[in-house]
Amino acid sequence: MQSYFYKVWDARYFIVYLAIAELKYKFRRSKLGLLWTMITPLTLSLIMTFVLGTVLKMDMHDYGPYIYSGMLVWEFINSSVTLGCTSLLLSEPYIKQYRQPFAIYALKTVLVSILSFAIAICGLLIWIVFYKPANLIISIFVLPISIVCLLIVGWPIAGLAGFTNLKYRDFGQITTLGMQLLWYVSPVFFQPSMFNSGILSIVFMINPITHILNLVRAPLLYGSFPTLIDYGFVLGTALVLYLIFALRIYFSEKTLIYYF
């Protein structure tokens, strides 16, 4: 396994260049280009803020950034799963041309997602410069750590999705439904305080996505550090996922070539 990760490290240039290329060609011939990674979630957040803020009678000044931050983190997790599912399939020409660890293609996918996230989060940073400048200092220090944590947890998610979908092509469809379900039990746009039900509070508490969201919301929205519980949940989840991923690599990677 150690030599496997050395091979992943050796392929770092390939991963980075391919990720940048994918982001570049996603918006080819587009006038606004990469700005769409910010405009799309921002516009959706504004719509949801207006609708939900009106229905739920929320203060839109605070609820808007809450939704926006939720959408960005959710989009990262969702794309780690859904794009992760196709990461190996789309890399078939490379895989059949030259032997590289399969995990690099999942890492490339997550890198694309994290770059999109980093661009989109600038919209939220602009908001706090104007509305909560006191949060800026802590955000500058904590946000990079949060982004690294996202990358750490996103890689095994994308990798497991890719390995599984290659072998079982229905998996991609199942994850689409699963993510829809997960959306409703994650505080992406629901605030935990909206629910009095004990069961939902517990679900929110044990849902790793709640803590992943807190890594971004705590510094940006509340001007505080994420709690140790948040880091513990996120890194603990990542550890479990890495263990499963390592086992999948050890037992399955060699024969995955047959499933293209």
Partner: protein, 238 residues
């Protein structure tokens, strides 16, 4: 529609190579010959690490450079210049080493200003030129060649042959899969005849080619359906 019928056969179900034991040493230039479906390309890809073994092991000592399916693995939206970077990085180069080779690759491919056009604007011949230029710019200790000895149009083939000769001379081990017996005779000092995944004979080139020809002749006379018969000696040689 539901797909609950008979389980589709997978590559996993195919035993492409059976009981193959080979030792190839430095200085050997080995030609692998055999009919279509004999397992020649599979053997090459197993050595390259692309196909796994279900049992047994492969020990490879040295830098492997494989040249097969040159046109595969390109980004059509990217320019030729960018594809040089992506393909080179895939093959284990660094951005710095690629920068040093970039001009040489571009000059060799002879694409002129087209190097900065997206690959989807290229003709098939231009793609082949670029693919060949990139893939042969990086030498290796062990060269695996699958039906790739020259590429491109007539004006490019001279350069391509000279480049291949240089690569072959510099490599410590050559493993060449080819249906072209003239090429195998010219380049190789050892040949292996594969049939149905098994090594039928392994030894001096002339002897192995003779066994192969006799085998093909026997099969041709045995049946009138020559679906699997290979042409014995194409007119064109290396």
């Amino acid at each position: 529609m539901l797909n609950w019928g008979k389980r589709t056969k997978l590559l996993y179900d195919v035993d492409a190579l059976k009981n193959v034991t080979l030792n190839i040493h430095e200085g050997e230039k080995v030609g692998i010959i055999g009919r279509n479906g004999a397992g020649k390309s599979t053997l090459l890809r197993a050595i390259a690490g692309i196909y796994p073994l279900q049992s047994g092991e492969i020990e490879v000592s040295g830098k492997v450079r494989s040249l097969f399916e040159l046109n595969v693995g390109f980004q059509p939206e990217a320019t030729g210049r960018e594809n040089i970077t992506y393909r080179g990085l895939l093959m284990g180069e660094t951005p710095k080493s690629l920068k040093e080779k970039e001009d040489e690759i571009i000059n060799f491919a002879g694409l002129g200003d087209f190097i900065d056009y997206p690959l989807k604007a290229y003709s098939a011949g231009m793609m082949v030129r670029l693919a060949f230029a990139i893939s042969t710019s990086i030498s290796g200790d062990i060269l695996l060649l699958d039906e790739i000895l020259a590429a491109g149009d007539a004006s490019f083939q001279g350069k391509a042959r000279a480049r291949m000769t240089e690569l072959i001379d510099n490599a410590k081990i050559i493993i060449l899969v080819s249906h072209n017996m003239q090429s195998v005779k010219k380049i190789c000092n050892r040949a292996i005849y594969l049939r149905d995944g098994r090594v039928i004979t392994d030894g001096p080139v002339e002897d192995v080619i003779q066994v192969y020809r006799e085998s093909v002749r026997d099969d041709t006379t045995r049946t009138d359906n020559t679906d699997n018969a290979d042409p014995i000696d194409p007119a064109q040689g290396w």
